[in-house]
Amino acid sequence: MNIFTLPFRNLRRKLLRTGILVAVFTLGILSVVLLYNVSRTIGHSLEEKMTAFGANVVIYPKTESLKISYGGFSMGNLAYQVKYLPEKETVSAIHSIELNKNISTVAPKLLELIHYKNKPVAVIGVIFAQEMRIKSYWSVMGGKPDKADGVIAGSRAAEHLGLKTGDIIPIGEKQFVVSGVLKPTGTEDDNSIFADLHSLQAAVNKPNLINYADVAALCAGCPIEDIVHQISKKLPNTEINAMQNIVKQRMATIQTVQHLVLGLGGVILLTACFMLAMFMLASVNERRNEIGILRALGYSGGKIFIIFSFESLIIGALSGILGYAGGYLGSGELLKILSLGENAHITFNWLHLLVTVAAVSVLSVCASAFPALKAAQMRPTDAFSRI
């Protein structure tokens, strides 16, 4: 037995009260942990979905000559000497950075100027599977190319050149077949023809060469600057252009969702604090007599404060443990129900648990500070209603 005996006895004696307080606090913490975990994961998958609206990093060779632009990419003047990047090495270098978990898609491209019916047109060699991931707005009339020699024509290119499904386009030494036409996208894609990268490389005899690569990076866990920095270390002879505005917009949307969710958890916690303060105040008034006895026995005001605060501390610590564990288990379950489980990166973190318990303990002690102070300031004769 020591100074903590009294608070422990009171917690045990008033099991219902203790239970209610722990339950409300646990609920508050649980919702913060749960909503935070879920919103992080949902934010992650939300970002992955938003990635469909385009790449946010472009990697291209260093160049000093005049520029012709395509899709925000500056390639060397096609008429003069064009610099290339090696496809396989570039792609594998991007995938080998430390933050490679954040690399969602790498879409390498080779640009070729050809003449069809004496009209110039740009042919873009792409890996269709990758390209479709960053261009979910593509809608193909006809069919997507299922063979290596299939191409897709942009809407304006098709109109201008009179192309339709089944037409044959000779490129270099090979014949390509139009498998479909893109619906207008409102981008420069409308003016171009898209062919399979490797077929185009073979046709124009530029094996393993690309002009540039679009990269879609997920920025939920890190700033885009880190990703750019890591890529540039792996690929020293390239220029890397991060489209900050796109990234920032995406992050802002996700952060709004997270702030909303944390705000809600905060309100629940605030309610819990208020309840604790009310219960404690009632407890202090109900135990005036006890306080009087303790004061008469020489307990200092500080000791009385400790006795009451310790009760709150235990409630807070207990709720912290239960709330964190509950939030951790609950978010896993919830994500399973929302079938977002595949993307979940929820890990049990001892440090987080410790920080949560400490924070909630401090919070609960603060919440009960006023009643505890009131108890500490009671004089023995105030405490005995009438002697």
Binding site: M1, N2, I3, F4, T5, L6, R9, N10, R13, N289, E290, G292, I293, L294, R295, A296, L297, G298, Y299, S300, G301, K303, R379, P380, T381, F384, I387
Partner: protein, 227 residues
């Protein structure tokens, strides 16, 4: 040992002030038994609370073992309450959810160090001294009024105080049980413990070496008991 001089106290409640003590002086020597008698409302409990440091006087001096308590810090007052004096009341003021032994050990539950075996054994011993052997682990609700007052006395004794203050300790008890408590107080006094007791019973008051009569906030008489 304890000398109160010219104590004044005025209560103010709801804007009305009442002069309850108008210059009371009482002395208690080492090992003395002092009884305080007087009509209801004469200020006995108020005086008792001031003597036992539970209440501060508006004016006057309290000298305890040469120390002026009206000028003492709250830490010093707490130390006096912890070590030198004990109080018991008409309403026994036990913790209903602590056993007899735990109630007796309350004065030692102020620290972070757990209470050791020696102190527990001492609590048992004090309980047997007040006649409660075999009832050490009962809750107050399972004890009679007289037994509860004995637990309160045991709690007062365990710190080996110099003075025991008792405000109508028999007030809630029948005469037979009351007599036994008075006998117990006399017994304890015989071992050297000074006792200050407020009582309505002239019979019980005779237990004191000195009988102080109070009337309307003043001492109206001091009688030395020859016995």
């Amino acid at each position: 040992m304890l000398n109160l001089k010219d104590i004044h106290k005025t209560y103010t409640a709801d804007g009305v002030s009442a002069k309850v003590l108008k210059g009371v002086s009482i002395d208690v020597s080492e090992g003395e038994f002092v009884s305080i008698v007087g009509k209801s409302g004469s200020g006995k409990s108020t005086m008792m609370n001031i003597m036992s440091t539970l209440l501060e006087p508006d004016d006057g001096s309290i000298l305890f073992k040469g120390r002026e308590l009206t000028k003492a810090s709250s830490a010093e007052i707490n130390s006096v309450r912890r070590n030198d004096i004990s109080v018991i009341f008409q309403a026994y003021h036990l913790f209903p959810y602590l056993t007899a032994t735990e109630n007796v050990l309350l004065p030692f539950m102020q620290g972070f160090a757990p209470i050791g075996k020696a102190l527990r054994e001492e609590a048992f011993e004090v309980l047997s001294r007040v006649g409660l052997s075999g009832k050490e682990n009962r809750l107050p609700g399972k004890l009679s009024g007289g037994e509860q007052q004995r637990v309160a006395i045991a709690r007062a004794l365990i710190k080996k105080p110099a003075v025991l203050f008792a405000d109508e300790p028999t007030g809630s008890l029948d005469s037979k049980t009351g007599n036994a408590i008075i006998d117990l107080l006399k017994e304890l006094n015989a071992t050297g413990l000074a006792v200050v007791m407020v009582t309505h019973s002239p019979e019980y008051a005779k237990a004191g070496h000195t009988i102080v009569s109070m009337e309307d906030g003043l001492v109206s008489g001091i009688e030395k008991n020859a016995g």
